[in-house]
């Protein structure tokens, strides 16, 4: 099915891509800044012409936390879980679940790749190490 991206808001475009197993990255026409946040303006230079591209889904770990408290029954069932700040192409940062890596192996720069669980009860994006 073809998606008519033009009729969707930036947020809807992001979500539509996610549901296809893709992370949409915004790329500023003017300054080439890359960012994941679905904004129609460039946070780096203020330009209004923003393209989008599909991320290759590979990035590096910038920082992370390990949740031992979920603040809700659903997330309490997942603890301990890891959320990482992952830098994709052009340092575009995304916050996402990180799995299949032991806590002592977590390190800045760790190379990760995105997976997209189909189970709706799971987080939409889960990064796992490139070298499992």
């Amino acid at each position: 099915m073809e998606l008519h991206m033009e009729s969707l808001s930036e947020e809807e475009q992001y979500q539509a891509a996610l549901s296809r197993g893709q992370i949409l990255i915004r790329v500023c026409d003017a300054c080439d800044a890359h960012f994941v946040l679905p904004l129609p303006g460039c946070p780096e230079c203020g330009a209004g012409e923003i393209d989008s591209t599909v991320s290759a889904g590979v990035g590096r770990l910038y920082t992370w936390m390990v949740a031992h408290h979920g603040f809700s029954p659903e997330l309490d069932a997942d603890v301990p879980y890891v959320v990482g700040a992952v830098e994709l192409e052009g340092a575009a940062r995304i916050f996402a679940r990180v799995e299949k890596v032991s806590l002592e192996k977590l390190a800045p720069g760790l190379e990760l790749m995105a997976t997209f669980p189909e189970d709706p009860a799971r987080p939409p994006v889960v990064f796992v190490p490139v070298n499992l």
């Binding site: 947020e11 960012f35 994941v36 946040l37 679905p38 946070p43 780096e44 910038y62 920082t63 992370w64 936390m65 390990v66 949740a67 031992h68 408290h69 979920g70 603040f71 809700s72 997330l75 997942d78 301990p80 879980y81 959320v83 700040a85 940062r93 995304i94 916050f95 996402a96 679940r97 800045p108 987080p123 939409p124 994006v125």
Partner: protein
């Protein structure tokens, strides 16, 4: 300021009124002179400034502002009150924060709408301790420091809390106690996180001329700043665009703050630094130039910030030990200290203090001094 409890058993309005009345009484002013009220709240956890003005029976309010802000607000709203007074828009302005933060809506339980939350909630990033834990981790990585810096902040502030009858955590905390504190969002343990409270706090802002006629020596606003940088984000918890999670707003406002005060980091006798979580003290010490990059933990470990130290920090135990009134009580502690009314923990001869509000990409700060009347 009201007492801080886990269950006030009272309405937020009743707490707000007690704090506002208390502030005006303490100053020796008549309530009918108050013509401005400014407040902040988060996700409808407060009551509006208009409602408070009504319940206080203010005869002619002419400056009522209710903001939807978090911990970045208090110093900023004091600035607004001062600016309103200077512009002739009001004469005497109350700034308050009131909430049932423990028995009512607790941290992490409110699901707020918006693009920022939509981008982080699905990952399981739902509460501020989790978000700021990621800042703390990156800070420790880049500076080559470790969790003992966080422990140092917690232990140092507990030394102050012992003498603060309002503090909700008044016991000392050793390194061993810290290590036993349960993990909440690694690297944060429960001890690194503020403790939620029911209560209210208000500060009365007036002109210097009027203040000279009131009961206490005036506390003068020497300098003030609110700010952030490029790529600040969509809301207080959004850090998707912020380039450097090891430096928060304090780095961005330091120059404006100190130049507006005509003072520098070496000129203040103490600091009250917003500390919803332990790491924000480290980032503020460095951002404001009170410590060199990566050296804040060593400064705290050296004993400089505890009672008797050369730079007392968070002299009521901070939000970590006193309780979480979203930083309004941080400003209150500064004013109490400078007016010499902080009881046993009063810092002798302290005449100046820097105060901050906020922990993330945006925030505010004040430089305050005590003016002694003859």
């Amino acid at each position: 300021m009201t007492e801080l409890t886990k269950k006030s058993g009272r309405s937020v309005m009743s707490l707000a009124l007690e704090a506002c009345r208390g502030s005006v009484d303490d100053a020796g002013m008549n309530l009918s002179e108050v013509d401005g009220v400014i407040s902040y709240g988060f996700n409808n956890d407060s009551v509006s400034s208009q409602a408070v003005a009504t319940a206080l029976g203010l005869p002619a309010p002419r400056y009522l502002v209710t903001t939807e802000m978090g911990g970045q607000a208090p110093c900023f709203l004091i600035m607004q009150a001062a600016a309103a007074i200077e512009a002739g828009l009001a004469d005497n302005v109350l700034v308050y924060r009131a909430l049932n933060g423990r028995s009512g809506q607790r941290v992490g339980t409110a699901k707020v709408p918006g693009t920022g939350p939509m981008m982080r909630y699905p990952a399981g990033l739902v509460a501020y301790p989790q978000i700021i834990a990621m800042w703390a981790r990156r800070y420790l990585i880049e500076t080559g420091r470790d969790e003992s810096d966080l422990a140092a902040v917690v232990s140092a502030q507990r030394l102050w809390a012992v003498d603060n009858e309002r503090a909700m955590r008044r016991t000392l905390m050793s390194e061993q106690d810290y290590a036993r504190s349960p993990m909440v969002a690694d690297p944060f343990r429960a001890a690194d996180c503020t403790t939620e409270a029911d209560g209210a706090c208000a500060i009365l802002v007036t002109s210097r001329r009027r203040a000279l006629d009131l009961r206490h020596d005036p506390v003068v606003i020497e300098g003030a700043a609110y700010g952030t940088g490029k790529r600040s984000g969509l809301d207080a918890g959004d850090a998707m665009l912020w380039p450097d999670l090891t430096r928060n707003y304090t780095t961005h406002i330091a120059e404006q703050l100190w130049s507006s005060a005509g003072m520098g980091p070496r000129d203040v006798d103490m600091a009250q630094l917003y500390d919803c979580f332990s790491s924000s003290v480290l980032l503020a010490l460095e951002g404001l130039g009170l410590a060199e990059r990566g050296e804040a933990g060593r400064l705290v470990s050296s004993g400089a910030t505890v009672p008797g130290g050369r730079l007392p920090v968070n002299t009521g135990g901070g939000l970590l030990a006193e309780g979480y009134l979203h930083g309004m009580n941080t400003v209150y502690e500064a004013v109490s200290q400078l007016q010499g009314s902080a009881g046993k923990r009063t810092v002798p001869d302290a005449r100046s203090c820097v105060v901050t509000s906020g922990a993330l990409t945006d925030g505010s700060a004040l430089v305050l001094t005590r003016e002694t009347r003859n």
